[in-house]
């Protein structure tokens, strides 16, 4: 009886497990296997191609590839600025929402969540048009204020993407932080108030430490997402192909190697390297933040 129950339990997970093997484990294994080979032109390039086992050569190439490393570094620097900015804004938003009456909060919350309802590609399309000197309202606004900004200039591309990502992610992040704030027992805040803490002091010394785990989680999700940034730069590339190059972000390099250059083996090696970077970054971030909390 108990034994048969065990297998019935396993049977419920079987469809998922089969799919997981087929759609996750086999592809990952295949990528690892493929990254050890290299397709080479034979002889004079007339006799077609042959695939050769090259060991870790693709990895060596990837770790010295200035395009790939440049893309990783570019995105890393960007993440160091954008993620703290977005988390700060979301946190401020959640704290403001938490400090008004429940009725006011219910009125503001859906408005603040509007960006979350917009698909990422559409958000990028809208902001690219807002930035556009031809149709966007920001260029005339700049003129009246005495600025002449070009949002697609090389120095402005990352701030432009940063603002777009912040706009798109801020509502969702705020929602997670707000939910964490709401889960804190209210008596804790009242006790601090009775002890004479001002609202700002209360936010800094009680509320923010209370949502720290949620901040760590959203920070980690942002890092994972950021290292894989692809959609927004791909769309911006339509507007400024000379600034947003084909190898602007790590995933763009991989996509370009696989589908434009046809180097699937090398692209596989690069995606393994990226996965390793992703795992290491998440691990370090987690270790760093949780040690401080302890």
């Amino acid at each position: 009886m108990v034994r048969s129950l065990r297998w019935k339990g396993a049977a419920f997970t079987a469809p998922f497990l089969m799919g997981f093997v087929f759609l996750f484990l086999i592809p990952i294994g295949y990528a690892l296997y493929q990254s050890l080979f290299l397709e080479q032109q034979s002889g004079l390039g007339l006799g077609g191609t042959s695939t050769e086992f090259v060991g870790l050569k693709n990895y060596g190439h990837g770790l010295t590839d200035s395009t790939f490393l440049g893309a990783v570094w570019r995105v890393f620097l960007f993440a160091c600025v954008q993620i703290p900015v977005m988390l700060t804004f979301s946190l401020v938003m959640a704290l403001l929402l938490d400090s008004v009456t429940a009725r006011a909060a219910a009125r503001f919350r859906p408005v603040l969540l509007v960006p979350y309802m917009i698909p990422g590609i559409v958000a990028a399309i809208v902001w690219i048009n807002l930035y556009s000197p031809l149709v966007g309202p920001l260029t005339p606004l700049g003129k009246t204020l005495g600025f002449s900004w070009d949002f697609f200039a090389p120095a402005m591309v990352w701030p432009s993407i940063g603002n777009l990502l912040t706009w798109h992610g801020i509502g969702y992040t705020m929602l997670i932080l707000y939910a964490a704030l709401q889960a804190v027992p209210r008596e804790l805040f009242d006790a601090a108030r009775v002890d004479g803490a001002s609202e700002v002091r209360l936010a800094l010394s009680v509320k923010i430490p209370a949502v720290r785990p949620a901040l760590v989680l959203t920070g980690m999700l942002s890092i994972i997402g950021m290292l894989q940034i692809f959609n927004e730069p791909m769309l911006l590339r339509h507007v400024t192909p000379q600034t947003v190059t084909a190898g602007f972000t790590p995933i763009m390099v991989i996509y370009n190697e696989a589908f434009n250059a046809g180097n699937y083996d090398y692209a596989a090696a690069l995606s393994v390297i990226l996965a390793a970077i992703l795992g290491t970054a998440s691990y370090l971030f987690y270790r760093f933040t949780s040690r401080e909390a302890a």
Partner: protein
Amino acid sequence: MPTTPTTPTTPTTDPASTPPDKRPAIRRTAPGPAASGFSSRRRRRSDRFVLAGLVLFSAYSVFPVWWLIVASTKDQAGLYQTNGLWFSGMHLGANLRQVSTYNHGIFLHWVANSFLYAGVGSLGGTVVAMAAGYGLARFEFPGKSVVFAFVVGSFLVPTAMLTLPLYLLFSKIGLVDTPWAVLLPCFVNPFSVYLAKVYTESAVPWEVVEAARLDGAGELRIFVSIVLRMVSTGGATVFLLAFVGTWNSFFLPLTMLRGEQKWTLTLGLFDWTGRRMESGVDFTTLVLTGALLSVIPLAFMMIAMRRYWRSGVAMGALK
């Protein structure tokens, strides 16, 4: 593959606990007895400050969408020459006609495809995930911890690392450029399984399952007529989040789908942004009207089901 299986879950186990060492810090600023009248005036001023902040954030959140709505009602001249934040003439009908008839109504194909992939993919994915979540939450079996480690570990695998080899595998078995290439990956969603497990743990008491079993109900019958009914809220959340994810997905369809007849809305709009002006058609108007249309089903669904996704976000974040 890097496996640090516990990372996304453990830091959030106890959001309510405040480090005890913070408390003396608050006490230190204890006010004098006369402070209460002063603080209420200060409070009113800080309320106004809070309200102003919220209004400012609201304006930032809404104005791009407002601009999109206004822009889609303008003709080409209005779009380029008038103030972007206010209406000038009403050309929404003409724009809609242009979007739906351009290139023999290709846009409507994309809408239908997006509905097909997101609808069928999320439905299948939800059924698979609910079953797996139930199995993981309410049974003990050999290898269970390995399955759960797979689920959590897969959050760290970059999509490109999966999508590229998947593309090669699918092209070997002839699935590339068919709807299956997009649908199959939707059926296996580790995050849905994770949510389903959490929901089942909180919504289905073990005793109910035991009682049904003693009454002689089969395992499948228990799952379909008892468990699924009890976690219907969780199931709706899993479906909604998967639907939104598939509707918005870009990298997978971009690699898998070749012919424009099979594209999704996101792919089609991406292609249109690449061409500005072609044989007298201004693509800016097409793209903006199309973008607005692609938001509507999603916004409608999110508003209708807001109860579910709000709980989903909270659950995903706090558990």
